[in-house]
């Protein structure tokens, strides 16, 4: 009891300025991918379709990651892959957040029956595999594109975001300061905006960073199956798929995009971990 009180009365201003290492390392990895992605807009080592070297060449000074079976520079394609991964990740997370947070907040405020219906619907949606969803969306549109990938991954992610938002919002709604806000005359939209969102935001942001990592993997999986962005969009998933046939003779064709994918996903996960620590004042103070 007394220990707890002593901690609470401790001055919250005594924060440590040191950057937690997961945030630093994660930020560095993600930052690297962002820089590369931006760079591809103005410069790549070779043109993306240029057959600049021999077929299935090993890495060399001229071709850092080697060449593919048509003699195209792999480094160029991997760099463009960063752009695709980040674009699809951003789009999918943004879409998932928009849909998910909206549904989650509505469910938290809803009456019991509506809440039960929404919760059940979310459970079904979560159980629905992203790939199946993507196939459905591709089948019902003009074919696979960046847009269908974003739509499929975003919708699949939105169910998870919605469920998390609902749980977090319900916890906030049980607090006395919500009752106090009602007594102060604040309506439900105001309560959602002033009290609920600011209090659940830190946890949601962390979740978005994790979702980003999942979206990058999902995009690679879709491209691998041919359900992602069509050529000339050099997605890592497609590079992996193309390298599969020659994985014994030219392993670098698979290893290089693999490293790119793993480094981005690990970076995003570390970044999410670091954010969680930074956002949680109790963890921050116990350091």
């Amino acid at each position: 009891m007394s220990g707890h009180d002593a901690m609470v009365s401790g001055n919250g201003r005594a924060r440590k300025a040191a950057l937690p290492w997961p945030l630093a390392v994660g930020g560095l990895l993600v930052g690297l991918h962002i820089v590369v992605a931006l760079l591809t807009l103005v410069w790549t080592p070779y043109g993306v379709g240029d057959m600049a070297g021999g077929r299935l060449e090993a890495p060399s000074l001229a071709h850092w990651a080697g060449t593919d079976r048509l003699g195209r520079d792999l480094m160029t394609q991997i760099m463009i892959g960063s752009r695709i991964a980040l674009l699809v990740g951003c789009g999918a997370v943004a879409l998932g957040a928009l849909i998910g947070v909206t549904i989650g907040i509505l469910a938290a405020f809803a009456t019991r029956t509506l809440d039960d219906v929404l919760a059940a619907a979310l459970d079904i949606l979560i159980a629905f595999p992203t790939l199946l969803l993507a196939m459905l969306i591709v089948a019902s549109s003009d074919g696979a594109s960046l847009g269908t990938a974003i739509l499929a991954i975003g919708i699949a992610g939105s169910a998870i975001v919605a469920r998390l938002t609902r749980i977090l919002a319900k916890r906030v709604l049980a607090m006395d300061y919500i009752t106090a806000a009602r007594v102060a005359g604040t309506g439900w939209p105001g309560i959602a905006r002033i009290h609920v969102l600011p209090n659940i935001w830190p946890t949601l942001i962390v979740n978005f960073a994790l979702q980003f990592g999942l979206a990058v993997i999902a995009e690679a999986s879709l491209s691998y199956l041919g359900l992602g962005a069509p050529p000339p969009n050099a997605s890592w998933g497609r590079l992996l798929q193309e390298a599969q046939a020659s994985v014994y003779t030219a392993p670098f064709g698979a290893i290089a995009p693999g490293i790119a994918l793993v480094s981005l996903v690990i970076g995003l996960n570390l970044f999410a971990d670091g954010l969680r620590d930074a956002a949680d004042p109790t963890r921050r103070r116990s350091r």
Partner: protein, 250 residues
Amino acid sequence: MTLLSLSGVSFAYAAGKTVLHGIDLAVRDGGNLGIVGESGSGKTTLLKLLLGLERASAGTVSFRGAPLDARDRGFMLGFRRSVQAVFQDPYSSLDPRQRVSDIVAEPLRSLKIGTDIAEAVAQALRDVDLPPDAAGRYPHEFSGGQRQRIAIARAIVARPALIVADEVVSALDLTTRTRIIDLMRALSTRTTFVVVSHDIALVALLCERLVVLEKGRIVEEGATREILARPSHPYTQRLLASTPRMPARG
């Protein structure tokens, strides 16, 4: 003048459990009213009805003679401007992500009270003896007693006629408790308090009138002085006998 009145009010949860039976109660201007009850007495539910946070299953809750109607926004605005509240737990009753200035200003903004918000907040903080620089800080930078002062500042900022205080000192240390009670006494000159508590001594310190609630029914009501001197209901007698006292001075 009667601010709030309950006539024949009963309340049952959806599951069918009735927690209040035929409550008649009037809260008048001037002179605090205490509501004493232990767990299971229905005092929390009664408090929610008084604040218009729950709707009675039977009977009517009236504000200045007119029945409360949650759908009449204009009427509810007037009701909320007049009736504010302070809650038990000073840790969960303040939004941890808001600055004190925003916490205290919430009723002014939500109730659309046209006034200089910064000045009104500063005045409210002065009224509860908090330093002016408190406005820019966050709740976790304050102790339990100071947090309760912030909650009281939020309750008085709109200058309501009535403040419902729910177990406001039970989470506080004894010495802090005394200071908050002194503050509430000082504020009693300009607003009426309804003090809801399990602690009959606290209610006796603050209220001229009291009602004793047991198992959803009012078992005794009247002037505090009278009830303390001659408790008529066995439950009130037991409550008084159970309250531990200091040993007599030697």
